[in-house]
C-alpha cells in the first residue's frame, strides 16, 4: 500500500458520507419510520463497502484524484437513505448494488492502467453498442411500457445504461483521432482545400443509428442525453461552436419528431406544458412532484416526515423531488452542488491527462454524469419534460449504479496514470 496525499484527502472526505448515513438512519428512526428488518446490516454493509473501495483504490489507483470517489459515495449515501425511506423493501438490494458497483469500480480502475488500448476499439465499441440495442429490441423484456431490459440469469439489465460504457469509448476515441480535422473549417492539402464535413459523417451516423434504436426502444431521455453529450464533447475537442449549434438543431428536431411520432412523448410534452389538463391521469405524476417540491420550503419537512410517496415511481424517476420535499431547498441545492463538484473534479482529471484520448475520455465521463443529472433534475423541476432516466448514484436501480461506478473507475484510472511520476 502506498501512502498518497490524494487518498488521505479521500478518507477525510469519506467521513462526510459516513456521517450523513448515520444521521439519516437516526433521523428516520426519530421520525417514527419503520426501518427495514435488516437496517443494521444495510448500514454496516454500506460503511464497509465505502472503506473497501477506499482501501482498494490505495492499491489499484493510489495517485488518482481524491474527490470523485468521495463525492460519489456521498451521493450514494443520500440515495440509499431515500431509497430506504421510499421503498424499504429494496433497500438491501440497493446497498448490494452499491457494493457490487464499488468492486467493479476497482476492477475498472485497475484495468484502466492500460486505457490507451481502448482507443483502438472505438469502432468495435460503437458496433457493440448498436448490437446490444438491436438485441434488446428483438429479445428484450418490457417494463413500464418500454423495452429496455435484458434478462440474464434472473437479473434484468438495462441495456440503455450498459451502452454508455461503449459510447464514451467511441466518442472519446473518435474525437481523439478526428478532432484535428473537425477543428479546421477547411482542410488544406497539396494546395487544394477540402471541406471537413465528411469527417463528421461517421460520428453522426453512429449517433443517429444509436438514437434511432433507442427511439424504437422508447427511451427518449437517453436520446436527449446522448445528443447533449455529443454536442459538448465535439465542442471540447474542436472548440467550434457551429457543432453546438448543430446539436441544438438536432435536439429541437428530435423533440419535434418525438412529439409527432410517439404518443408517449407527446403525452409527456403536453403534461409538461399543462399538467392540470388531465390532473387525475397523465398529469398526476407531474403535479404530485410539484406539490412535493413545494412542501419542502427552504429547510425541508425533515427526512421521513414528508409525503413524497404520493408521487408514482418516486424511487427511480422522482427521487430528486423527494429530496426537495424532505431536505428542502438547502438539501436539493446541495445535491446539485455535489454533481457540480463531480463535474469539476472530472474536468480536472481531463486537464491532467497526458494524451488526447485520456483527456477526452475523462471529460466525456464527467460530462455524461453531469448532463444526466441535469436532465433528470430539470425534468423533476419542470424546466423540461420528464425523461425517466435515473439520477446517477441516487436513484434506485442496479444497472445504472454499476455502470456509473465503472465509469468513475475509468476516470480514477486515467487520473492515476496522469499522476504517475514522469519516467
Amino acid at each position: 500500500m502506498i501512502t498518497s496525499r490524494d487518498r488521505n484527502t479521500e478518507l477525510l472526505l469519506l467521513s462526510g458520507s459516513a456521517a450523513f448515513i448515520l444521521v439519516a438512519w437516526r433521523a428516520l428512526d426519530a421520525a417514527g419510520f419503520t426501518m427495514p428488518a435488516s437496517s443494521a446490516r444495510i448500514l454496516t454493509q454500506f460503511l464497509a463497502s465505502a472503506l473497501l473501495g477506499h482501501l482498494g483504490l490505495r492499491i489499484v489507483a493510489p495517485r488518482a484524484a481524491g474527490q470523485p470517489y468521495a463525492v460519489v459515495l456521498l451521493l450514494c449515501a443520500i440515495g440509499l437513505a431515500f431509497v430506504t425511506r421510499l421503498v424499504p423493501s429494496v433497500a438491501q438490494a440497493q446497498v448490494n448494488w452499491i457494493s457490487a458497483g464499488v468492486l467493479l469500480m476497482l476492477a475498472s480502475a485497475a484495468a484502466a492502467s492500460r486505457y490507451p488500448v481502448l482507443r483502438r476499439y472505438k469502432y468495435t465499441a460503437a458496433f457493440v453498442a448498436v448490437l446490444l440495442l438491436v438485441a434488446t429490441g428483438l429479445f428484450g423484456t418490457t417494463i413500464n411500457g418500454a423495452r429496455l431490459w435484458f434478462r440474464i440469469g434472473g437479473q434484468t439489465v438495462q441495456t440503455t445504461e450498459l451502452i454508455k460504457l461503449f459510447l464514451v469509448v467511441f466518442i472519446a476515441g473518435y474525437l481523439a483521432d478526428m478532432g484535428g480535422a473537425l477543428a479546421a473549417p477547411r482542410l488544406r492539402f497539396a494546395g487544394r482545400t477540402y471541406s471537413a464535413l465528411p469527417y463528421v459523417i461517421p460520428l453522426l451516423l453512429t449517433l443517429l443509428t444509436a438514437m434511432a434504436m433507442i427511439a424504437l426502444l422508447k427511451d427518449l431521455g437517453q436520446i436527449v442525453l446522448i445528443i447533449m453529450l455529443a454536442m459538448a464533447m465535439v465542442y471540447v475537442a474542436t472548440g467550434r461552436l457551429v457543432f453546438v449549434f448543430g446539436g441544438v438543431v438536432l435536439l429541437g428536431l428530435s423533440l419535434v419528431f418525438g412529439y409527432l411520432a410517439f404518443d408517449h412523448a407527446r403525452t409527456r410534452i403536453d403534461v409538461w406544458l399543462n399538467p392540470y389538463a388531465d390532473s387525475a391521469g397523465a398529469g398526476y405524476q407531474t403535479l404530485q412532484s410539484v406539490y412535493a417540491i413545494h412542501a419542502g420550503g427552504i429547510t425541508g419537512e425533515g427526512l421521513g416526515l414528508g409525503d413524497p410517496q404520493a408521487i408514482p415511481i418516486v424511487s427511480t424517476d422522482y427521487v430528486y423531488s423527494a429530496i426537495a420535499e424532505e431536505l428542502g431547498l438547502a438539501g436539493a441545492l446541495g445535491v446539485v452542488l455535489l454533481y457540480l463538484l463531480l463535474l469539476f473534479a472530472g474536468l480536472r482529471v481531463a486537464l491532467s491527462a497526458r494524451d488526447d484520448f485520456g483527456r477526452l475520455l475523462a471529460a466525456c465521463i464527467a460530462l455524461l454524469l453531469a448532463i444526466q443529472a441535469a436532465v433528470i433534475i430539470g425534468g423533476n423541476l419542470r424546466l423540461i419534460p420528464t425523461t425517466g432516466i435515473t439520477l446517477p448514484f441516487v436513484s434506485y436501480g442496479g444497472s445504472s449504479l454499476v455502470v456509473n461506478f465503472m465509469l468513475v473507475g475509468l476516470l480514477l484510472g486515467i487520473s492515476n496514470q496522469a499522476n504517475q511520476p514522469q519516467a
Binding site: V236, V336, L340
Partner: protein, 466 residues
C-alpha cells in the same frame, strides 16, 4: 493533437456553462419552494387533506371565540354547528375540500404564520407543529337568528358589515352534518338538493328586481334620469316587438315620479331606462359592482353573469336584464355586496370571513385585511339609499320596519324558469349610518316582499340589538 491551452479554455467555458446551470436550478427551486405558495392550498395536493388528520391542527372559532371546529387526540375533526357547515367546510380526498378549512389550511396546519421559535422546534427538536387557531368574522347571535329565520326553506342568507366587509352570518339550506361526511359523503354528493353547496357564495340565481339597484345606479351616474323625473306607463311597453307589462305590480299603470317605479318595482319603466342606457353603460356599472366575474372572497365564489356567454345582445334582452331577469345570474353574496357599496356611501369594503390567527390567546396576525374600492359616487349612493328607504316606508317589505330605525331595502321576485318564483330581499340599517347589510334568497319561495323580507327583518333586529 489538442493544444493544452485551448483545451483548458474550452473546459473553462464548459465549467462556466455548468455554473449557469446551477443558477437556473437555484432559480427553479426557489420558484417552486418559496414563491408558489398557492400550491400549499391546492385541493388536489394530498398534503392538504392529510393535514386534516393531524391532532395538532388549529381550531376554527367564531367572532366571540366559540369553537366551530376542533381536532380530537385521534386526529378526527369535531364540528359544533351545522348551520355554518358550508362556511367552516371540510378537507376530504374523496369529496373535495372547501370552506375555511381549505382557505386557512396553512395556518391551521401550522405551515405558515408560526413563530421562528416554533419553526425551529419543529425542524430540529421534532416537536409536533401546533397549528394556529383561526377566528372568523361570523357573529354567533346573528348566525343563529339567520339560521332559525330561514328554517328548513331552501335558500341562503348573507349578513355583513358594510363599513369593513366582515361577514357576520352566512347560512345555506339545506345543510349537512360535517361529522357524518365520511359515512354518507357519497349520498350528500349526489343529493339533488346539493347540501354540500354553499348557496351564499356558489348559488347562482336570477336576482329579479333586486338588480334594479344596479340599473338605477347606472341611470343616475349617467344622468339618464332622476328620482323626480315623471314617467308614464300606458299598460305595456313594447321593445322591438316584445311587450313588457306595467302590471307586474298593481301600481304600475299611470303617470308618476321615477321614485315610485323603484319603490313599487315597475318592470316596464326599468326596461325603458335600460334601453336608454344601452348595453355598454349598464355593463360598465354592473362590472364595477362585481358582475361578470367571480367575486374576490375568502371562499371560492361562483361567477355572476349579465347574460349568457355568446348571447346576441338584443334590445329585448337588454330590457329584461334591466329589470333583473333576462339571463342574469347572481349569488346572494354578490347582491349583498351591491347593497353594501350603496350603504357605505359608494365605497365597497371587500367582503371577507377571516378575522385573526391566534397562538393560544395571543394574536399572531390579522387576516383578510379589507381593501376599499369606490364603486359609485356618494351622491348616487345617497339617492339610492333614499329610494330604498321608501321601499320599506311604503310597506312593500313586510316585517322589516323597525320602530325608531330607518331601514333601506329592495325586494325581488325572480322568475326561476321552473315552479314558483325565488323570493329575494336585500336591506341595510340604520339607513343614515348602516352597520349591517342583509341579502336573503328563498328558492321557489314566492314574493320577495312577503317571504324574504320578514327573514331579513329578524336578522336586522338581531344585528341592531332591537
Amino acid at each position: 493533437m489538442l493544444s493544452p491551452r485551448q483545451f483548458e479554455r474550452r473546459l473553462g467555458a464548459t465549467g462556466a456553462v455548468s455554473l449557469l446551470g446551477l443558477a437556473v436550478f437555484f432559480g427553479a427551486l426557489a420558484y417552486w419552494q418559496v414563491f408558489r405558495s398557492d400550491l400549499g392550498t391546492d385541493p388536489k395536493n394530498p398534503r392538504v387533506v392529510n393535514a386534516l388528520e393531524d391532532p395538532h391542527r388549529g381550531r376554527i372559532l367564531d367572532r366571540d371565540g366559540n369553537v366551530l371546529a376542533s381536532s380530537l387526540a385521534d386526529g378526527s375533526r369535531h364540528y359544533t354547528d351545522a348551520s355554518v357547515a358550508q362556511v367552516v367546510g371540510y378537507l376530504s380526498s374523496r369529496y373535495g375540500s372547501q370552506g375555511a378549512e381549505l382557505a386557512f389550511n396553512d395556518l391551521l396546519s401550522g405551515k405558515a404564520g408560526t413563530s421562528w421559535q416554533a419553526a425551529f422546534d419543529a425542524e430540529f427538536r421534532r416537536s409536533a407543529v401546533r397549528g394556529l387557531d383561526v377566528r372568523l368574522t361570523i357573529d354567533p347571535n346573528i348566525q343563529a337568528v339567520a339560521a332559525k329565520a330561514l328554517g328548513a326553506r331552501k335558500g341562503a342568507v348573507v349578513a355583513l358589515d358594510p363599513r369593513n366587509g366582515e361577514v357576520l352570518a352566512m347560512v345555506s339550506v339545506p345543510t349537512y352534518d360535517p361529522a357524518a361526511l365520511n359515512q354518507n359523503g357519497e349520498k350528500l354528493l349526489t343529493d339533488p338538493n346539493s347540501p354540500l353547496l354553499n348557496r351564499a357564495t356558489q348559488g347562482r340565481y336570477p336576482p329579479g328586481s333586486t338588480f334594479k339597484m344596479v340599473t338605477a345606479a347606472s341611470a343616475f351616474e349617467n344622468n339618464v334620469i332622476t328620482p323626480d323625473t315623471t314617467v308614464t306607463c300606458p299598460g305595456e311597453i313594447v321593445v322591438d316587438g316584445f311587450p313588457i307589462s306595467c302590471n307586474n305590480v298593481p301600481q304600475g299603470t299611470g303617470t308618476y315620479p321615477f321614485r315610485n317605479a323603484f319603490a313599487y318595482s315597475v318592470n316596464a319603466i326599468f326596461a325603458q331606462v335600460g334601453v336608454t342606457l344601452g348595453w355598454d353603460r349598464l355593463t360598465a356599472t354592473a362590472e364595477k359592482f362585481g358582475f361578470d366575474s367571480s367575486l374576490p372572497f375568502t371562499l371560492d365564489t361562483a361567477p355572476t353573469q349579465l347574460h349568457a356567454p355568446g348571447s346576441k345582445l338584443t334590445k329585448p334582452l337588454l330590457a329584461s336584464t334591466a329589470f333583473g331577469q333576462g339571463e342574469l345570474l347572481a349569488t346572494p353574496l354578490q347582491m349583498a355586496v351591491v347593497a353594501a357599496a350603496i350603504a357605505n356611501e359608494g365605497v365597497l369594503a371587500s367582503p371577507h370571513l377571516g378575522y385573526e390567527a391566534l397562538d393560544g390567546k395571543s394574536v399572531v396576525q390579522k387576516l383578510d385585511q379589507p381593501s376599499n374600492r369606490r364603486v359609485i359616487d356618494t351622491s348616487v349612493a345617497h339617492t339610492l339609499r333614499d329610494l330604498m328607504v321608501a321601499v320599506v316606508d311604503d310597506g312593500q317589505a313586510a316585517g322589516t320596519a323597525i320602530p325608531g330605525v330607518k331601514v333601506a331595502g329592495k325586494t325581488g321576485t325572480a322568475e326561476s324558469g321552473h315552479g314558483t318564483s325565488h323570493a329575494w330581499f336585500v336591506a341595510f340599517a340604520p339607513a343614515e349610518k348602516p352597520v349591517v347589510v342583509v341579502a336573503v334568497v328563498v328558492e321557489n319561495g314566492g314574493r320577495g316582499g312577503e317571504v324574504a323580507s320578514p327573514i331579513a327583518g329578524q336578522i336586522l333586529r338581531a344585528a341592531l340589538g332591537k
